[in-house]
Symmetry: C2
Subunit: 349 residues, 2 copies
Amino acid sequence: MKENYTIKDIAEMAGVSKGTVDRVIHKRGKVSPAALEQVNKVLDKIEYKPNPIAKSLKNNKNYNISILLPDAEADPYWEPCYEAISQVENEFSHFGIKIHKSLFKPSSTKSFKKAADALIDSKPDAILMVPLFYIEAENVAKRCVEADIKIATFNNYIKDHKINFEIGQDLFQSGRVAAKLFNMLLGKSGSIAILHIDEAFQNASHMQEKERGFKDFFNLNKKLDFKIDVHNLKKESKITFDQTIENFLKSIDPIDGIFVTTSKAYLIANHIATYTPDSVIIGYDLVSENIKYLEENKIAFLIHQDPKKQVYLSLTNLIEFFLFDKPLQESVLLPIDIINTENFPQYLN
Amino acid sequence: MKENYTIKDIAEMAGVSKGTVDRVIHKRGKVSPAALEQVNKVLDKIEYKPNPIAKSLKNNKNYNISILLPDAEADPYWEPCYEAISQVENEFSHFGIKIHKSLFKPSSTKSFKKAADALIDSKPDAILMVPLFYIEAENVAKRCVEADIKIATFNNYIKDHKINFEIGQDLFQSGRVAAKLFNMLLGKSGSIAILHIDEAFQNASHMQEKERGFKDFFNLNKKLDFKIDVHNLKKESKITFDQTIENFLKSIDPIDGIFVTTSKAYLIANHIATYTPDSVIIGYDLVSENIKYLEENKIAFLIHQDPKKQVYLSLTNLIEFFLFDKPLQESVLLPIDIINTENFPQYLN
DNA sequence: AATTTATGTGTGTTCGAGCACATTTTTATT
DNA sequence: AATAAAAATGTGCTCGAACACACATAAATT
C-alpha cells in the first residue's frame, strides 16, 4: 500500500525499462504514446516520490551558502547569529555544505554594498542577508535572481517577491505584546514613553512597526487611558551616547513606563534610579547588558527576537532544500517570546 | 584543507585498496601492521568523516518509530502532538520512516501497560513515550534496552539512565516563572492559592515540582510577603468536576492570585467573576478553553509547555540518528514560554 | 619440499536516481 | 524495395560506503 517504490519497480510494473520511466518522470520526451500511458497508469496508482537520499548522492554537489550580517563588534545583538553559523557548519559540513560569513558595519551603507558585491561575485548557491538598508538590499535581491543565487533574509523584511526565504518576527504584534504587558503592570491609566534609541537609525522601519503596534493596542482599548510620547534618541555630537540618554531623562517629567524599541534598554536602566525610579522598563533582546538589568529588576520584561534561531532555521531550510528538495517555506514568523528573570536562561542556548 | 575525502581518496594516499581502508576504519582486522600505519597516518592528517548520505543509501533500511501517548479525547492537551506526528510523517515518509501512534487512557495504568506491551512486541526501532506512570514506564524502558529498541520520553521525566533521548521543561523553574509573574502583577504582598486540578492525579510529580519552584521563589525573596495555600482538587463523587471546583471557590476567602499547575485553569476562570473577581489567574497550556479565557482577560498569563515541539524534536532527533548517525542529544530542556493575549497565535503553529 | 592453514589484499556488487550512450524500431525519402 | 533519418527504448555507468568473495602471499604443518 504505502510502500516505497523505486524506478525499477515502476519499470517492471509498466513493462518498460527504467530509462523510459525516467524520461516520463522528467518529461524529457522521446517516449511513445503507448509507453507513456503505461507508465502514467502506474504512476497514478502508486504516488511515486524519488528517494531523496539516492537523489542527493547522485547529485553529490558541494553547496556554498554566504551569509551577510552586521559585525557583532558594533552591536552584540548579532553575536548569537555567529553561534548558529558554527552550529550549522558542524552539523552539515559532511553533507558538502560550506558557509561563508561576511560582515558589514551596521552604520555604513557603503560597507553593506561592498560586502554584498563581493559575495555576489563569488557566486555562491545562496545568500542569506540582513536587509538593513532597504534600497541596497532590494538591489542585491534583484542581482541574485539574475545570477541564479537563492536569496534569503532574516531579522528585517523587504517587500520583494524575489526573496526565496524570509524569517523574522511580526514587529507590529510585538509592539502589542509590550503594550499588553504595560497594561497589566500599570493598570488602566498612566504615562508611557516610547524610546527609539539607536546610534544611526538603520532600524527605522523596525522601530516604527513596533511603535504602531504599541499605539494600536491602546487605541483599540477604549477603557484604557494612557498618555504616550515618542522620543527619538540618537547620539549628539561632542558628548557620549550615554550622556545623551542622561540629558534626555533630566529633561522629562517622571513617567510610569518606558518602552525601548531597540536592544538599548540597558542605557536607560542604567540611569533610571536617579531620575525616574518608579518607571517600568520593557525592552528588546537578550544582550548581556539587558540581562544584567533584568536580573536587578530594573528592566521588567524583555522581548526576545531570537536572532540565533532565525539564522539556524534560515540555513537549515536552505540546506534541506539543496540536499533533499524540501520546499522553501518562503515566509516564517517566529513567536514573540516574553522574557523575565526566571525564564531567560533557556532562551540562550 | 577542509575538503571532503572519500575512502577512495584515502586508499590512494595510503597506497592501498579501498577494502583495506574500510577494514582499518571499521576495525575489522586482517590488516598488516605496515598497511595499518600507512592508513592511520593519512586518517590522522585529514579527519575523515564518512559521507552520511552515501552511508544512508547503502544502509537503505526502513525504520519504525512507535509513539505511546495519551488519548486526546480524554485531554485536549495532547492534540498538538498528533499534528507534530503528521508533520513528521509527511516530511520523512520518503526517507523510509514509518511512525506508529498508540494511545492509552491517561487515567488507566492498565491501558498504558497494555499498549506498551503491544508496542514492544511489534519490535519497532524506537519507542517515544509519555512516562505518565513511573514504575510502569521504568519497566518499559528496561525491556526496550533488552530488546535493543531505542527509548525516548517527552513531557514527563523518569530518572533512568537507560533513556536514549528525553525532552521536556524544567518544571521547578516554570513554577518560579509563574511566581515572578505574580510578584510583578501583585506587588510585594498578597495571598495566592496553588491549585492542583487533575481528574486522577497522574501528574502528581509534575504538579509538585511546579509547586516547589513557586514556593522557592517567594522563600528566597525575603522582601516579599505572600501567603500561599495549596489545594488539591479532584473530582468528587456524585457531582460533576465543574461543580467540585465551584464548591471549592465558595469555601474560600477572596484571594489575590490563583496558580493552576495543570491545564485546567479554564475551570476556575469560568467561575472567577462570581466568587473572587479580582483574582489574577496564571495557568498552563494553550488548550482552546484556556485561550478563550485568556482573551477575555480572565486568565492573566499561560505558561506554554509546547507538547507539539516536544514531539517534533523527539522524532526528528531519532530520525536523524537512524538515517545520518547524528548523535542523540540525551536531555533537552525547552524554554518556558510566557503567553498573553497578544503572542499566543504564533505559538499555535 | 609439498601441502595445508592463516593472514593479508584487492575486486566487484549493492543501494536508487539520473543521465550518456548504444541499440533497436519506426517513419520518411529516394 | 532499399536506404537514410528520426524516434523510441534499453543498457550501463556514476555518486560513496559497506561488505562478500576471490585471490595472493606468507607462515605453519606434515
